[in-house]
């Protein structure tokens, strides 16, 4: 067991899947000698060779085509799309092809591809680098979408994603890469691809969040605790599918819920969670479902992004409003 950053935990997970399965391949822009622009794949080309960890030409649709064709010839591809904003260039590959191919073959062929991609605001990147684009992918049948909020889950989820025979979109949060450390086991372990986790237990209100907003929700829960409001915090971890069982069990205890996301409010993951709760658990609620999300503008210019991204104060205020309803 060692203290590890989120990014090192991902590297460690990738190292283990490359070591265990000779059919796994890592490829993408700058992932080889450079180890990725964030160094997520650093050292892996030296260790496993250029046949297993290699650079691609600069074209995201080509990277997805490569992944699909490699699956057809028996490989287990782990392509990287350098920033989530660049997935638009690979939209047909991910949504039009990869997610549908198992179905098209009537289940006869597998496409065990894990598309890794960094996203998330707060690090003053150039445009199209920070956007939360999960909304486009969680509405895609056949594709799993996961995003860890801490180093332990980062390693366990990336291993599960690669070992899954279903295609998985693995979203890595830029702000979390080096801002948090956790105890992470050296040995291989997995975190299930379709389960949320209660990261703080509480009895008065449920805060449902994912990725960097989990930390904001935990900070809000600390503030609420000072006024004896006991908040339970749930980390979704999987955005498709959503683990409603974990959310519903919490609501049966707290009877109040706030759903939080960094993405714009419109048609987002939070809307799906809120509608599921409304459909299945409305009789268990003592207050309306609260939502915290970014406003519906285009992702903001970097200088103002921290005014735009929902933070712990926003969550605390909404939680108080719902708690006191």
């Amino acid at each position: 067991m060692a203290k590890m950053t989120y990014i090192k935990a991902i590297t460690s997970g990738l190292d283990q899947v490359l070591g265990d399965d000779p059919k796994t391949l890592i490829f993408g822009e700058d992932v080889g000698k450079n180890g990725g622009v964030f160094r997520t794949t650093v050292g892996l080309q030296d260790k496993y060779g250029e046949d297993r960890v290699f650079d691609t030409p600069l074209a995201e649709s080509g990277i997805l085509g490569l992944a699909i064709g490699l699956s057809l010839t028996g490989w287990r591809p782990i392509p990287e799309i350098q920033f989530m904003g660049f997935t638009f260039e690979a939209m047909d590959g991910i949504v039009g092809q990869l997610a549908r191919d198992h179905y098209r073959f009537g289940g006869q062929k597998n496409f065990p591809v894990t598309v890794r991609t960094p996203f998330g605001g707060g690090t003053h990147t150039a445009e199209m680098h920070a956007d939360n684009l999960e909304n486009y992918f969680v509405s895609t049948p056949g594709l799993r979408v996961v995003t860890p909020a801490n180093p332990y889950d980062a390693k366990g989820l990336v291993i599960s994603a690669v070992e899954s025979d279903d295609p998985v979109l693995f979203m890595e949060n830029l702000k979390l890469y080096r801002s948090m450390k956790d105890e992470v086991p050296d040995e291989k372990y997995t975190v299930p691809l379709d389960s949320a986790k209660v990261v703080r237990e509480g009895t008065d209100i449920t805060l449902v969040a994912y990725s960097a907003e989990v930390n904001e929700a935990l900070t809000a829960a600390d503030a609420l605790a000072k006024d004896n409001i006991s908040a339970e915090v749930i980390d979704l971890r999987s955005l498709s599918p959503i683990d409603t069982d974990t959310i519903y069990a919490s609501i049966d205890k707290t009877h109040k819920v706030v759903v939080i996301q960094e993405a714009q409010r419109m048609a987002g993951v939070g809307a799906v969670v809120a509608s599921d709760i409304a459909e299945d658990k409305i009789m268990s609620l003592d207050a309306p479902i609260g939502r915290v999300a970014a406003p519906d503008s285009v992702y903001p210019f970097a200088q103002a992004e921290n005014d735009w991204i929902p933070n712990a104060d926003d969550i605390e205020a909404k939680a108080r409003e719902i708690f006191n309803y």
Partner: protein, 371 residues
Amino acid sequence: MANGSKQIVDFAKIKATMADPYKHPVQVIDREGKVVDPDTLAKYSDDQLVDFMKKMVWERTLHEQTMNFSRQGRLGFYAPTAGEEASEMGSVTAFKKQDFLLPAYRDLPQMIQHGTTVAKGFLWSKGHVEGNQHENPNMMFPQIIIGAQYVETAGVALGIKKNGDEDRVAFVYTGDGGTSQGDWYEGVNFTSAYQAPAVFFVQNNGWAISVPRYKQTAAETLAQKAVAMGVPSVQVDGMDIVAVHEVSKAAREFAAAGNGPVVIETLTYRYGAHSSAGDDPSRYRTDEETKPWFDADPLIRMRKVLTDKGVWSQDQEDKLVEEYKDEFKSAMKEAEAAPAQKVSDFLKWTYNVPTPAVKKQIAEFEAKESK
């Protein structure tokens, strides 16, 4: 020059000559049925040439029978292939069963030759999953998104190279319009960057639905596009099955030997509509334009060569057509006897491991379906 002084670079000359290496289509038999390359033709036995002719008659008959079935409402989407027999049969016969085929929607005849049945082709057209399940596993389903098969070919070819498979390549088809897609360039370029074994066919049939070839690009040939990716390419008379086969065989050998990919532009023609779904070519082309192509028909010229050799007769051809028609009619019966599809199965195939919501929906549909 505008001011009479000599410019440092003569762009006009570059532009005027850049297509020169590419605009000499390979030909063995010309449109009149005259053998223009007897040495190449001599490499083929009479039996082989007769087999080429049979395959073209087979494809033409398949097309005609398929149009009949379409008119009877017994098929779904179908892309007519008449006119492209030499291009399609000449190319696919140059490949081996272990080669991986990535077809588009006009390539059902090549798929059947490569290892599926006519009945499966009909099932694909009718919208039945069994139409995507082939005896030869070295095959993708017909790609609908133009260009996607090109980028996927890069992956298949790289996979073949990484597996160390000997004597194996990927081969793929698109049309003239397909060369305008970004994926076309990405696919050829990735394959070239990795020097992976693939043969890329561009069946230039003159039309992307209603848009003529010359409106797709100012490039004089489509073959020349490959030079930008460091890939050798050639134009071939796509109405001459011997030329297409000979070029395809050479391309396969070159790619399989580890030299990287090849691009082949076959000059052919789409006699019919883009698809059976309501396209009317009289809206965008005239008989005057199409006549020269009908005169260049691949069957006419091969028929002449074989008749001159005394190894083919109209009687023989008429009998074959009847045999093929019977074959296609029983294939249609087989397709029509395929089991009804169930939504619960669609849900089961969406994921390997169904999500909780999908599990619930499977149960709901199974309950409905058992009633």
